[in-house]
């Protein structure tokens, strides 16, 4: 199995940097994006039509009324 084994200190810093980036994007950027009128309208549209836009296969879709 090939895995990178960089310098430990550098690796920890890189990991913390990635965690910070993920937290910032998911806790700040994306919630802010969800409030934009265009995005909010699209989200409301999908919700009202009960569309699971992230479905990988038809069995993951909600049944249509």
């Amino acid at each position: 199995m090939k895995t990178a084994h960089p310098n430990n200190q550098r690796g920890i810093r890189a990991l913390l940097g990635m965690v910070l980036a993920i937290v910032t994007i998911w806790m700040v950027v994306l919630p802010a994006a969800a409030k934009l009128p265009t995005v909010r309208n699209h989200l409301e549209f999908l919700e009202s039509h009960r569309v699971n836009a992230a479905a990988m296969f038809y069995t993951e879709l909600e049944p249509r009324d």
Binding site: W26, A53, A54, Y58, T59
Partner: protein, 472 residues
């Protein structure tokens, strides 16, 4: 570089052990499917002519995180139409136990100690929860960036920063998670769905799709001269059939490298996010018949969820057509995976040698878990009426129980793939233009052929018949 679908051969691991794991996975998957059927039954209706009610006593047992906007904690509470939200903690514990039980025989066969199994599996499971949490954020979800992408990202982040910890390595068995997930996945591939839209649905999904797949693969091999046939096949299948699920199934069938599957999935998700907005826009702006447009969308957009979102923009009937065309195309995945596994077994050695081989060699090379995948599909498609079951029982078992387990297994698999992937290896694929070009040309070809077939079938030859089906 080793294929992710091969059990790592070590000097102490004789060849029969590699075969053994495939059969073991098929056995575990078959048993899981059988057990799942005990939770579902048909309650006879009192009135004549009324369909029996299907009762699923295991509904909601396997955890499924809910969508959230700005408070991730909401992902851990159900969103019932009536009543109070329920905490998913119990469901997560049950899910952990169920999947752990399925994996135990594999861990035992691999000689993984109970302690290593428990610790490694627990960490992978927590990472999978985190990946689901990322994928259920509403903005992420609406653009179809599925959990596999975030699972891969989390794994890559760990392995390429601090390195995969030694205590995790025994359980970094993405290949096994995928194989087991695919056997369960087989139960979702129901051939009865083929007739849902009659002839036009079959032509749009089952005629155009194989043509696009074969010609794109041929184009990649002969014209673009893509170095890796398995990368070519995974991109061709992912682009022509149904995105991520097709990439996973064909990647396993042709023993593609994990970087190849990851690359194909990344490209597919990126283009899907664009196409799910652009295609309905084209239909609306050009004044195309929404039903034809919906069939076109169903036949070309890779991902099922994206098809549902794009189809809904065109109206209710159009959404039904788009979803149904995609569903029929989804069913093709079983045939494609079997065909690819057979083709690869007859043509390619791991070294890439394409000399022809005898039947026994083909059998030796054939990935046995594909038999489990196809077997589950055939059993769930054709057995229920033969044994006197209501046909909806098989559908409820696969949709409400085993598909949820399969989703967790795929998520665990991509966490594991990330944990065993060096980003530099993945970067090589990102820097080469040919695979991307293959995807773009293949997708353009698919759009042209699908539009022609959708127009012919849904706009000309069977327009009235489709309208009468929709009216029902």
């Amino acid at each position: 570089m080793q294929s992710p679908y091969e059990t790592a051969p070590t000097p102490a691991t004789p060849k029969y052990k590699r075969l053994h794991e495939d059969w073991l996975v098929v056995g575990i998957g078959a048993l899981a499917l059988l057990v799942a059927t005990f939770f579902v039954s048909a309650k006879p209706a009192n009135d004549v002519g009324v369909k029996p009610e299907i009762v699923n006593t295991a509904k909601g047992t396997i955890a499924k995180l809910e969508s959230w906007k700005d408070a991730p904690g909401k992902a851990f509470f159900t969103k019932p139409k009536k009543g109070e939200p329920q905490f998913l903690g119990g469901a997560l514990l049950i899910t952990f136990a169920v999947i752990g039980t399925l994996l135990m025989p594999v861990a035992y066969a691999r000689g993984i100690s109970p302690g290593s199994f428990l610790v490694g599996y627990l960490v992978l499971f927590l990472l999978a929860i985190f990946a689901f949490l990322m994928s259920t954020q509403e903005v992420v979800k609406q653009y179809n960036f599925e959990y596999v992408l975030w699972a891969l990202l989390l794994g890559l982040t760990i392995s390429n920063t601090i390195g995969t910890p030694d205590f995790l390595k025994p359980m970094v068995i993405g290949d096994t998670f995928i194989k087991l997930g695919l056997v369960l996945f087989g139960a979702e591939v129901l051939f009865g769905k083929l007739v849902a839209l009659g002839v036009p649905g079959v032509f749009t999904s089952w005629v155009v799709t194989p043509i696009v797949l074969i010609t794109t693969y041929w184009f990649g091999q002969r014209i673009l001269k893509i170095e890796s046939p398995s990368l070519n096949m995974v991109i061709s299948a992912d682009m022509s059939v149904c995105g991520v699920s097709a990439a996973i199934a064909t990647g396993a069938a042709c023993r593609a490298k994990r970087e190849e599957v990851s690359y194909a999935i990344g490209v597919s998700l990126l283009f899907t996010a664009v196409m799910m907005i652009v295609q309905p826009y084209i239909v609306l702006k050009t004044g195309m018949d929404p039903i034809v447009g919906a069939a076109w969308i169903g036949g070309t957009i890779d991902s099922t969820g994206a098809v549902a979102a794009a189809g809904a923009v065109l109206g209710d009937d159009a959404a039904t057509v788009a979803n149904t065309v995609k569903m029929i195309q989804n069913v093709l995945i079983g045939v494609i995976a079997f065909g690819v596994a057979t083709y690869w077994s007859t043509r390619y050695r791991e070294s890439g040698d394409t000399n022809s081989v005898g039947l026994s060699e083909i059998w030796t090379r054939f990935p046995k878990f594909v038999i489990g995948f196809i077997g589950a599909s055939l059993a769930f498609s054709f057995l229920p009426p033969l044994i006197g079951w209501d046909s909806n029982i098989a559908e409820v078992v696969s949709k409400e129980i085993t598909s949820q387990v399969r989703i967790w297994l795929f998520c665990l698999a991509f966490v594991a793939f990330g944990l065993e992937t060096n980003f530099r290896e993945l970067w090589k694929y990102l820097c080469v233009g040919k695979p991307l070009l293959l995807y773009i040309i293949g997708q353009a070809w698919s759009m042209i052929l699908s539009l022609a077939m959708a127009t012919l079938m849904f706009g000309v030859l069977y327009a009235d018949k489709v309208k009468s089906i929709l009216a029902k």
